[in-house]
Subunit: 94 residues, 2 copies
Amino acid sequence: MIKIVAKNYVKPECVQAFKDTAKELIEKSRAEEGNIFYTLNVSVNDPNTLVFIENWKDQAAIESHNKSEHFTGIVPKLGQLCAREGEVELFVEI
Amino acid sequence: MIKIVAKNYVKPECVQAFKDTAKELIEKSRAEEGNIFYTLNVSVNDPNTLVFIENWKDQAAIESHNKSEHFTGIVPKLGQLCAREGEVELFVEI
């Protein structure tokens, strides 16, 4: 299993819009065959840091997700709501 | 639900010892009433970065975990296997 922790540094005035825009991405990603969980979270230290914490069956599942219409269509919209570039980290479960 | 992402920068020669020492912590943490999942993961970018990714029912569950014998007994042992101080981040699921 491969987990993704994807941090988004959202413009303070865009936090609600980010949550609203992410809803479809969350629902459609959860419906993918290779998805185990897909969650949106807020940092306890910063209400403008919104973090996707995801779990995928394998690398093929992530590649399929990255090519999906909901990913390629919605992720750029989320990026426009951010103050600066985020960080994406991948971890393999031991 | 509250997720914890706890990064450990392990000494290269201590990675196996870290995994072995963490086993009891993982088993006993998973058995706690307030735990949803508790996993150990390795960064795809660095084999010496071992990361606990955890999910807890609420803040009370985390406080109970932090006071548990397995936490207070094993976490300092894990710290001795690290090259430098790690990072712990908490996220509340939206």
